[in-house]
Structure formats: structure tokens, C-alpha cells
């Protein structure tokens, strides 16, 4: 006898961020040739004895998580300058440090602060960039991440992806009940905020291109439904609740359409919904499973998973529909694609000999490269600067997240203190 539980635990809350990281990030494979940099603890002027945030530590952690930088440990700092005048460049040259960051955090009254920083080229003894930001207490960490982005871009020539967020789903067992939570945290694992909690599965979080909204699948009514939710206000709309599957939502780059999977016509097919009118355009017509649509960054085509050839492989179709072109040929299982932000690569779940790993297909050369070595890796999501891919993996009996650089050389693991975490989706860099 089966009792159907109708009590749905549902919270729509944006909790205040705590001072603790929800996700603990640990670098599991370092990179040779990382650039040495000294980030000096920021000076503090204010009413309290200690600064409200350790800005230098946030920047240092960001830069080391990128794999491109090797910040000097605090114990190796030969001096603690907080202004340009205090910097003795020859001391730092002797340590073979290429670059140096100094800064100050000042309280300006009424809960406001200013952060200023300068980045120096140690060998030329010259300032590369310097900025000052007025900032509220709530935005201290975000401004620190923004400073990391500025430093990263100045020194690598590529945009940073530190001032971004990650959406993910956690599960926990409370007695016989399982609880599912959709959260958004800063890219360093701090400031986790609950988007939705339910005792039925939550799946497939997807960011809008402006980073302001998130779409997801919820089974809170014991059937699959797609919702979109405003991240700041938590206001949400039920977008699709057709008979059967309502899954795999993906926003078009212009924010006007949502690609999704529906089985209302008998089996899973890809549709494109106009978000203003909710009119549906069916893109595939095939007896196979067609699912997991993703838009190319130019908005012209959609890549999806289909087993029309007998096993799941990736196909590409024009955003308006038409003939599908098969993209993957290596291996018996390629599914769950994500486009790189420049549209040149696809990350996917690549199954071979019973192991499921994250691989990247170069769309120009057709070369497929396996980047991970797990058994059950899934849900790859590119960072908005295209340098890293975050994905879900297992360790022991726990589900954790991991990130790998696109060249496969640098890896890190993101785990919860307790419970499982899955389905990471890296936010776009816009929407700051």
C-alpha cells in the first residue's frame, strides 16, 4: 500500500548570506607555470578593531582558484605595504614576484566603505591599474571578486569570472523524507542563498543570459513542471505544465525564448517557447528521445541529445527547426551538452566502457578531448570566460562538484560539509 504524500514543503526564500562558505573549494591538481603574485593584506581604517572582510584573502583565493596564479603565502611576505609609497620594489624582485597588489579598506560611516587597490609590475616598478570603489557592507565580497576580475584581465588578457555565481541542487535525507534545495552561491562558494526547497525533485537550473532569472524543473506537484524565477525578488512563474515531460529548459541568448523538452505529443521532443506569448514552436519530429537543448551563443542554432541513431549523441538544428546534423561520432554515449561562451566548443557527458566523463568537442577541428577521470561525471557548465568547466561527480558515496580548466591541467573540488550537491550551472558574467 502506498500513501501519496501531498504535503509539499516549499519555501521561496532568499536567505541572508552567512559568513561561511557553503561550498568548500579545494584545489586537487595544481598547474605548473602559475604566475607568482603578492597580495598584501589590505589596510583598515574604521571604528571596529578588525576589518569586516579580509579583502586580500578573497582576492588571493580567487586568483589561486583560477589555476593561473600562485599567490605568495602570507608567511613569505617580506613587508606589508598598504600604499604605493610604502612599496620597496627591490625586496619583491628578490622573491621573483612578478606582480604586487596593495590596498586599503576604509569605513565612510553609515555602513558604507571604500575599497581602493593598486596592481604593480614589480620589475618595472610601475602601477598597472588602480581603482577606488564605494561599497555597502553587503557588497564587500562582490567588490573583492570584481577586483580579482580586474587583476586577472590585466595580467592574462582574458576576462575573469570571479564576480559570478553558481546555481546548484543539494539533497539531504531527513528521516524517510528527502529534501531538495536549489541554491545560488558566489563562485567562491560563499553567500549561498536558497531559491527553492521541496520534498520532491528539483532539476536542471538554467540562467537567463542577463543573469537575472533562473529556469528550473520542479516535481513539487508530483509531475514535471518548468518554472522561471527572478533571482533578486524570488517572484516566479509556472511556464510549462503539459502532460508528460516538461524538462531541460534553456534560455535563448536574447532572453526572448526558452527551448525545452515536452512529451505532450507522445515522446520527448524539443520545442521553443516565445516567453511573451507562450506560443510553442516544435523543432524536432522523431520517435527517439530528443532532449537537453542548448542555444549557440549567436542564437542561430540549438544543439540537443537524441538517440535517433540508436544511442544518445549530439545533434545540431537551426533555431527555427529543420534538418538535424549529427555532431558526435566518438563513443557510444554523448549527451547533456553546454556551449562554450565563444560558441567554438561543446562540453558533454561522454560515456565509454561504463565510465561517464566530461569531454570537450572542438567544433572547428572535430577533435574530442576527455578532461575528467571520474566514473559518473555529468552536468558540465562553462564559466562565462570559457576558461573552466564545472560539473558534478562522485567521491565515495557523496555527490560533489568539481571544476577543470578547459585544457584539463588544473582541477578543483567543491563540496558541502554534509549532503550531496549536483547540477551546477555557472552564471553569465552580466547582471552585476
Amino acid at each position: 500500500m502506498r500513501v501519496i504524500f501531498r504535503t509539499i514543503l516549499l519555501y521561496l526564500t532568499i536567505g541572508a548570506g552567512t559568513g561561511q562558505a557553503a561550498l568548500t573549494i579545494e584545489i586537487t591538481q595544481g598547474m605548473e607555470g602559475a604566475m607568482p603574485i603578492a597580495i598584501i593584506p589590505f589596510g583598515w581604517t574604521g571604528s571596529a578593531a578588525a576589518a569586516p572582510e579580509n579583502i586580500a584573502a578573497i582576492i588571493s583565493s580567487d586568483l589561486s582558484r583560477s589555476g593561473r596564479f600562485a599567490p605568495l603565502p602570507d608567511r613569505d611576505l617580506v613587508a606589508n605595504p598598504t600604499t604605493a609609497e610604502q612599496v620597496q620594489f627591490h625586496n619583491w624582485r628578490m622573491l621573483n614576484v612578478d606582480n604586487l597588489v596593495v590596498g586599503q579598506l576604509k569605513e565612510t560611516g553609515a555602513g558604507g566603505y571604500t575599497i581602493q587597490f593598486q596592481l604593480f609590475d614589480v620589475f618595472r616598478g610601475k602601477q598597472l591599474i588602480g581603482y577606488s570603489f564605494p561599497v555597502s557592507h553587503a557588497d564587500l565580497r562582490r567588490v573583492a571578486h570584481h577586483i580579482s576580475d580586474l587583476i586577472y584581465e590585466k595580467l592574462t588578457g582574458e576576462p575573469g569570472a570571479f564576480n559570478t555565481r553558481i546555481a546548484y541542487v543539494t539533497t539531504a535525507n531527513t528521516g524517510a523524507q528527502k529534501s531538495y534545495t536549489l541554491l545560488i552561491a558566489d563562485s567562491d562558494g560563499y553567500n549561498a542563498q536558497t531559491i527553492l526547497r521541496s520534498n520532491q525533485p528539483l532539476m536542471s537550473p538554467a540562467w537567463s543570459a542577463d543573469g537575472k532569472r533562473i529556469a528550473y524543473v520542479s516535481f513539487e506537484n508530483e509531475t514535471a513542471e518548468i518554472y522561471t524565477q527572478d533571482v533578486a525578488s524570488s517572484e516566479r512563474r509556472k511556464l510549462a505544465a503539459f502532460k508528460g515531460i516538461n524538462g531541460a529548459p534553456a534560455w535563448s541568448p536574447d532572453g526572448r525564448r526558452l527551448a525545452l523538452t515536452l512529451s505532450r505529443d507522445g515522446n520527448p521532443e524539443i520545442y521553443s517557447m516565445d516567453l511573451a506569448s507562450r506560443a510553442l514552436r516544435r523543432l524536432t519530429t522523431n520517435a527517439a528521445i530528443d532532449t537537453e537543448p542548448v542555444w549557440s551563443p549567436d542564437g542561430r542554432s540549438i544543439v540537443f541529445t537524441s538517440d535517433r541513431g540508436g544511442a544518445p549523441q549530439l545533434y545540431r538544428i537551426a533555431a527555427s527547426g529543420g534538418r538535424a546534423e549529427r555532431l558526435t561520432f566518438e563513443g557510444k554515449y554523448n549527451a547533456g551538452a553546454d556551449f562554450s561562451p565563444d560558441g567554438r566548443k561543446l562540453a558533454m557527458v561522454h560515456g565509454k566502457s561504463g565510465a561517464y566523463r566530461i569531454a570537450v568537442l572542438d567544433l572547428e577541428t572535430g577533435l574530442l578531448r576527455v578532461l575528467t577521470d571520474g566514473q559518473l561525471d555529468e552536468s558540465p557548465s562553462f564559466s562565462p570566460n570559457g576558461s573552466m568547466i564545472i560539473y558534478a561527480t562522485g567521491t565515495g558515496n557523496r555527490e560533489v562538484l568539481a571544476a577543470v580548466s578547459v585544457d584539463g591541467r588544473f582541477r578543483q573540488r567543491l563540496s558541502l560539509q554534509a549532503g550531496n550537491v549536483r547540477e551546477p550551472a555557472w552564471s553569465p558574467s552580466a547582471g552585476n
Binding site: 532539476m203 536542471s204 532532449t291 537537453e292 558515496n397
Partner: protein, 174 residues
């Protein structure tokens, strides 16, 4: 075919088994059922005696108490033995047109999550087709695919995965 009961016979059999001191074994149930097939004229009578019909659903010795169908890797083929089991459910449902079922399709954890939703759906649809071919009305059957989101067995072994590739037949309100 072996386990195909019509509603009336299931009711009678429950009575017989309940009265027996020896435990009912499924083979006996099946054999007896085959002999009595063809008494389709009485199925409407069973519908009328709806209060009895509950018995066979709740009786652990009845094939109707088996409500999970298992599948091979990446497959939605229903085995011959499970075809027989589904025939029992179909007969019951055809005779109880007010009874609704939800077919919950599930997949193991290998591969990507939304593709697994597709696989669970395909399995649920395969079971639905078998039920409908045997006289169950389409409006009696609802399907939902949970993909890999609600495993029956935790763990990453083949044994756990075998238990997770399944369709659960959920009788609504029972």
C-alpha cells in the same frame, strides 16, 4: 498469460486462499486463472461488487501486489514474465474503470539527468501501451518520469542500478 485473472476470479481466489491453511503459492493462482479464462461475461458483475475488488489489490499473495517492472540497461523492453504480470493489472483495471494508476518511470544514475528523464518516460509509455492494448482506458493511466531522481536503491553498483531501472505502478487512492 499465466497470471491473467479476471476480476471475479481474483475475488474468488482471494476467498479460497484466505480460507486455506496452506499459504497460497503463485503458481497455483496462475494455473487456476488460466482454466477459468473466458468468463468475460461476469466482469461487469465484478465491477458492481467493487467492495470485493479491493481485496485482490491488497492481498500480498495476489500478482497485483507486485507493482514494479524492471528493465535492462538503456532498454524499455518488458520481459515475458512482466508481460504476464501486466496482464493481471490490465484485467483488474479494465474491470474497475474508476481506478486510476500512475506509471512512474525511472532510470539508473548513469549518464545525463534529462536524458534519463527521457528513458524513464519511454519505460512508462511501454507499460502504458501494454495496459491499453489489454483494455485499460487511456484516461485511467497517467505517467510521470522521475529519471534518476528517485532511486529505489542507493549506491553505485550494478545491483543497485538494476533495482532503479523500473516502472512503478501506483494505484491512486489505495
Amino acid at each position: 498469460m499465466k497470471y491473467q485473472l479476471n476480476g471475479l476470479f481474483a475475488v474468488l481466489l482471494v476467498g479460497i486462499l484466505a480460507g486455506c491453511s496452506t499459504t497460497g503459492d503463485k503458481a497455483a493462482v496462475g494455473d487456476a486463472a488460466v482454466e477459468d479464462r473466458g468468463t468475460t461475461a461476469v466482469t461487469s458483475g465484478v465491477g458492481a461488487a467493487g467492495s470485493f475488488a479491493g481485496y485482490s489489490l491488497d492481498d500480498p499473495a495476489s500478482p497485483l501486489s507486485r507493482r514494479v517492472i524492471y528493465f535492462e540497461f538503456d532498454s524499455s523492453n518488458v520481459s515475458a514474465a512482466d508481460q504476464d504480470l501486466l496482464a493481471s493489472h490490465a484485467t483488474y483495471l479494465a474491470g474497475n474503470s474508476g481506478q486510476m494508476v500512475t506509471l512512474e518511470g525511472h532510470a539508473d544514475e548513469s549518464g545525463s539527468r534529462e536524458y534519463n528523464i527521457g528513458l524513464g518516460d519511454r519505460r512508462a509509455q511501454a507499460v502504458r501501451r501494454i495496459l491499453e492494448l489489454q483494455g485499460v482506458a487511456p484516461q485511467q493511466v497517467n505517467t510521470v518520469s522521475y529519471g534518476e531522481e528517485k532511486p529505489a536503491a542507493e549506491g553505485h553498483s550494478d545491483a543497485a542500478w538494476r533495482l532503479n531501472r523500473r516502472v512503478e505502478i501506483v494505484y491512486i487512492g489505495r
